[in-house]
Amino acid sequence: MSRAALLVLADGRFPAGGHAHSGGAEAAVKAGRVTGAASLEEFCRGRLHTAGLVSAALAAAAAAGADPVSLDAAADARTPSSALRVAARKLGRQLMRAARATWPSAELDAVAREFPKGAHQPVVLGLAARAAGLGAVDAAYCSAYESVSGAASATVRLLSLDPFDATGVLARLAPELDRVADAAVEAARRVGDEGVEVLPAASAPLLEIGAEVHAAWAVRLFAS
């Protein structure tokens, strides 16, 4: 296992298209729910313990070798917003392209064929981690961190927030990120014996509603 591979996969400059998505931050900023560093922190905290936990568990399970088709169906059931399902598949397809070019693997090729429109991004992330020789813990961290870092950097652009403040938010969330990654790996470990039903299903009503509100806008800065 290469620690450097984790840095490559987790790098915000990894060309997988994530920068075009705000993780719901654009809708929350427009609605006046996120107005500065303090509300951004609460936004990210809520996201981390809901969508972040679910994504991290899916990624960890995929990295550990669970069946990608079952994981993708579990992701669908945990993503009631159709706008978010579309965004997750689009991101999954982009990540799949980047991952196949970076870490060629027969397993990635097979999943790309199975899901021509893209599988859910966290599932692809887990498979990419696997192809890079990384494990479930790495995939969980990568996914959990991504669930908040994207929203934080989007908010820097949306609110002209001081980037130091946004990074401070991420640093303060680190202990909770550790706990979310642990819980995700623990759930993923049980998938082999007990099936995908054991994966967390934590939901955030305003993320789901906000995604649909956002998708209905004529003009937006971010894709989701």
């Binding site: 996120v34 809520g46 009631p80 939901s203 009503p205 305003l206 649909e212 998708a215």
Partner: protein, 260 residues
């Protein structure tokens, strides 16, 4: 000191009576949950859940099971809101709802709100298993705290399977002791009422519902299957019900369907 909580299971079984109506061969309340068949319009059977005591309290475990057979139509409501209260023990209370609708059956599950009182700790698990051509309308509303009161801890998981395939699996945790951010801008943002409405209809397979928003705090969205979910948050129970009712009326094709 350990005080055992109340364990109670109520069962409803609905069958087509062969004359176009629905019979209820099973209608068994237990302990604090009583069941009453009521008169209603339309060919379906109507049942009201009556809470004979308050609860569930900490340590209690209530279960309600409803089984709708092929061709039967059942509508279940409740006489009043359910209030989760603290018990003599610090244990979590649990409320399980298991709903099964066979192919060609129809269930409308429309209970009143669940109110999480200060100091309570309740886990609600709702599992719905539907045949490929079953129909469902299910409403779930949670109110965090009575008027002016901080809520207790409430965790609610809702799973809907159609022909064995899970189309919805959602858990919401809120209140004291819930994971951080539950009342923040990503989850509830200070709203004290949250609800979901699930509508399953075989026709959605060929003609999926179109996603749309209802104001800024509710959305109607097609699920990955012949089903639609309405998610809403609101400042209070009254306004939540208004939004969910409005969404239901626009989803229901004809008035006949509303009176199963």
């Amino acid at each position: 000191m350990t005080v055992p909580g109340v364990r109670a299971t109520a069962r409803i079984g609905a069958r087509a009576d062969g004359r176009g109506g629905t019979a209820l061969p099973v209608l068994e309340g237990e302990g604090p949950i009583a069941l009453r068949r009521t008169r209603g319009s339309g060919p379906g059977a109507h049942v009201v859940l009556v809470g004979a005591m308050s609860g569930p309290l900490g340590g209690d475990h209530f279960t309600v099971v409803a089984d709708v057979a092929e061709g039967a139509r059942l509508r279940v409501g409740s006489a009043a809101a359910t209030i989760a209260l603290p018990g003599q023990t610090k244990d979590e209370a649990r409320y399980d709802v298991r709903l099964c609708v066979a192919d060609g059956g129809e269930l409308q599950w429309l209970p009143e709100q669940l109110i999480s009182a200060h100091g309570s700790d309740l886990y609600v698990g709702t599992q719905v298993d539907l045949g490929a051509n079953a129909r469902l309308v299910l409403r779930e509303e949670q109110v965090l705290g009575r008027v002016g009161e901080e809520p207790g801890r409430l965790t609610s998981r809702l799973t809907v399977r159609i022909a064995g395939r899970t189309v919805l699996d959602q858990e919401l945790a809120c209140g004291l002791g819930a994971p951080g951010g539950w009342d923040g801008p990503a989850v509830l943002a200070g709203h004290r009422a949250v609800g979901q409405l699930v509508v399953v209809r075989p026709e959605f397979a060929d003609e999926p519902a179109v996603a749309r928003v209802v104001g800024e705090t509710a959305a109607v969205t097609p699920l990955a299957g012949p089903a639609v979910l309405v998610t809403a948050v609101a400042p209070d129970a009254l306004r939540l019900r208004r939004v969910l009712d409005e969404a239901l009326v626009t989803l229901e094709g004809s008035p006949a369907e509303r009176t199963a």
